[in-house]
Symmetry: C2
Subunit: 551 residues, 2 copies
Amino acid sequence: MKEQKILIIGGVAGGTKTAAKLKRENSNLDVTIITRDEYISYAGCGLPYYVGGVIEDKGELVVKTPEDFKLITGVDVFIKHEAIEINREEKTVKVKVLTTGETKDFHYDKLVLATGASPFIPPIEGRELDGVFSLRKVEDALAIRELVESGKIKKGVVIGGGFIGLETAENLFEKGIEVTLIELAPHILPGFDEEIALYAQNYMREKGVNILTSERAVGIKGTAEVEGVVTDKRELEADLVIMSVGVKPNVELAKDIGVDIGVTGAIKVNENMETNISDIYAVGDCAESINLITGKPAWYPMGSTANKMGRIAGININDLKEKDSLKGVLGTTIVKLFGLNAGKTGLSEAAAIKEGYNPISVLVPGNDRAHYYPGYRMILTKLIADRDSHRVLGAQVIGEGVVDKPIDVIATAITLGAKVEDLEKLDLAYAPPFSMAMSTTILAANVIINKLKGKVETISPLELKNRKDEVVILDIRDEASHRISSIPNSVNIFSEDLYMRGKELDRDKETVILCKIGKNAYLSYLKLKEMGFKNVKVLEGGITAYPYEIV
Amino acid sequence: MKEQKILIIGGVAGGTKTAAKLKRENSNLDVTIITRDEYISYAGCGLPYYVGGVIEDKGELVVKTPEDFKLITGVDVFIKHEAIEINREEKTVKVKVLTTGETKDFHYDKLVLATGASPFIPPIEGRELDGVFSLRKVEDALAIRELVESGKIKKGVVIGGGFIGLETAENLFEKGIEVTLIELAPHILPGFDEEIALYAQNYMREKGVNILTSERAVGIKGTAEVEGVVTDKRELEADLVIMSVGVKPNVELAKDIGVDIGVTGAIKVNENMETNISDIYAVGDCAESINLITGKPAWYPMGSTANKMGRIAGININDLKEKDSLKGVLGTTIVKLFGLNAGKTGLSEAAAIKEGYNPISVLVPGNDRAHYYPGYRMILTKLIADRDSHRVLGAQVIGEGVVDKPIDVIATAITLGAKVEDLEKLDLAYAPPFSMAMSTTILAANVIINKLKGKVETISPLELKNRKDEVVILDIRDEASHRISSIPNSVNIFSEDLYMRGKELDRDKETVILCKIGKNAYLSYLKLKEMGFKNVKVLEGGITAYPYEIV
């Protein structure tokens, strides 16, 4: 049997997974990876932690050397080999050997594009100065860490408040560097709803990271080395600048030969990882996905998705009969910022509205384990559902406690088409060291069902902020708590005094009840309803979840 | 409007939840709890941790005092009031006031049985001696802790290797007491499959707890105070004995008036928490559930289920039109034993076989987060599916790493009818501090699918133990690893030498390949297959998951 030649362009998660799976499926295949990089199979998501020394050794970042990979899998790997042109008719790829400058052709029977994504570098002046980096490759991390460890860096500026930017800001800060992060949008954590993003933003600021939002970096100052960053509002001193405004899929090679590019800018593939051109597949960060909820194209460059895509391509290239498929993804993501964890799955409330849904949401604080078990921590769950079908659309969970568990539970539920009523009845693992008897996810489902049934009316922090001059804010906590901190212009009547002092309130005005986490406000809501109040609402998540001005 | 009287017998999780929900649904209801206990709303699952001082203060165990509960909810609570007889016709309950001995009648319009469960005390001699306890109520925990803290206890015997027995053994051990645990069955952790249970058993033994299995306690020795335990095999010295052989539902009151008792011995209720007698409901540990997978009656006395049942009863008693329901449960459970976590959901493999399924299972070790992120720990996943429908039937996860997350993900998947193919494609949260790029759950689904497709043949530790004299055990780890510890009579050929030394093996004999966790054995399996071996198998989970004799 003639050996089939499978050529893979790119050697990080998607490329190496495809290659390894191919050889496991059929050791007779001739599988080759070419990559312009020096390293293959590295942990892109670990780079910020290498910069900060949390991951101590370079060897830990690089999962496999080309030699080890060849030895274990039987795959040929050519590093520093850059693919510069594909010839569809000849089924060859022209490759430039970066060490010598020579070019040569690689033949393929099947071609896999695993070209990844590259940092988007805004075209601002000074971006080429020494001390200006992006953080996408192992080389970037090595260079930044070396500079940081030289002790010469006093002030760092991170441009971009996404995951990599935030993680890098944390890691630089932990190295004793004064860090300023600049975000163009009104808040960090793009894709998260405002309340959750601001919660994280307040937390990072309290830790000591200077965060500037709604601000644009317009230039970088310096002669040879970077000296500062100019924004549309000020000038900042800096001896290190990290550009982290986002990544874009590497699709040029594909585009040149007529491979369809999707609306997201990534390579269009079907659920079998096939492009529109026969014998050409695409996997990993260069390839587009489908959002499982909306059914629309979506691009989430994640190592977890790249691995799934690589496995599928490996199976399908070898066996055209029984194809494996990826129906779509949810854009599940998670980040650790100092002691805070923030995760997201499915649609945000803002995205749900944009997509034409009629969403209902709740914001529910709770503990990640029994309140009497030492070490429990608060987590804040935002659960989003479709008001008409009751289908779960998304969730965001943030806090110092465990957030990956509820996010994964809700991701699983969404994938399998769950309604909030399904979520509420889940038989989740309970013992004091692991959970409350009613987990926060179940609590959040309870509250959303109460809302759907009209048993309680609530208002979100965002809505209250926007309407705070139209409503009465009633703080039903005790006087001491109210005095320490509350929302501006709130009226304080302790819950136990409501029967007696309720007459002080104007029944005709919309009244928003405020407590610590929302639960006592709910009880006071019922009390006021019983007393005949018609227009009362509970502030979701209480003061705990209110990320705006507090006095 | 005449106030409806709702009487609830029992004041722990199910009773207090029902009561609180009732008043929130309709504050006009007259809701009363009677309980023979002194404490209500206490954390039954926290009792072992109070004994060991992990939970320091009694106040933390008791979620609400009767006074607080009344103040917050408006529910009347009568402690030390024991219900002794129900009169269906009169709709009254005769109650004995334990402090005075007098009896009085409580009228009801609706009655909720939340009578809980009681420890089963085997009828052995000496069970009434001082120093012999069960651990079910707050009073038990207070008494045991007092004794432990007196410093007089040197040797403790725990009878029963279920969760409470094991947790108590740990907590006593941590207090410096020499602890022996006696289990009648061949292993601890009833309900878990043997490999997983033995993993936990070996771990506890290494920590220093003396565990005796397949052994029956037949008597307790002593005059006034306990001095020892007699088993069918030996005598053990003891100055403290904890009886923890299981609990039984408290159903006598119900039985006396013709309330149907289910096959499990607990009160039969429909999905709305209604018994066969109108206006009588049952919730919590005294009530039976349905197993969501088999559709058959099941009894899992868990605080998490009690809370759900209470909420449903509270909703349904108030509103007969739009009833809430609990379709069933999975028997999801979890326990922490020293640094080891063990969780279970759905059917074990043994239970699946017993229920008539044709199960397929895998045992897959993996890390709970990226291997390059500090602090990662191993977890071992046993995933069980139906070979015909590919439906996920159950899982057990054990290890020092995070196990509650995969258990909850799989519990959610089972509830929503997932197949292993669904599990494999889940878009779970990935970042190095939280998960591997391919989570262990996805890995386990990958392996089970490979098995289903015939791409790999495996053998479980249990099967290998039973058949070890019939097969060749081939250890493909390096010589040093093999020398340190391996399975008795295994042959060592390093994986890299297989091509050269393969001829040393007898191709006609069934060969089981052994490595550290199963992954390299899979690669060697493929290599041997390529070399023409027909009858080879991978030992699932490698030596890591092999809980039997190691030399």
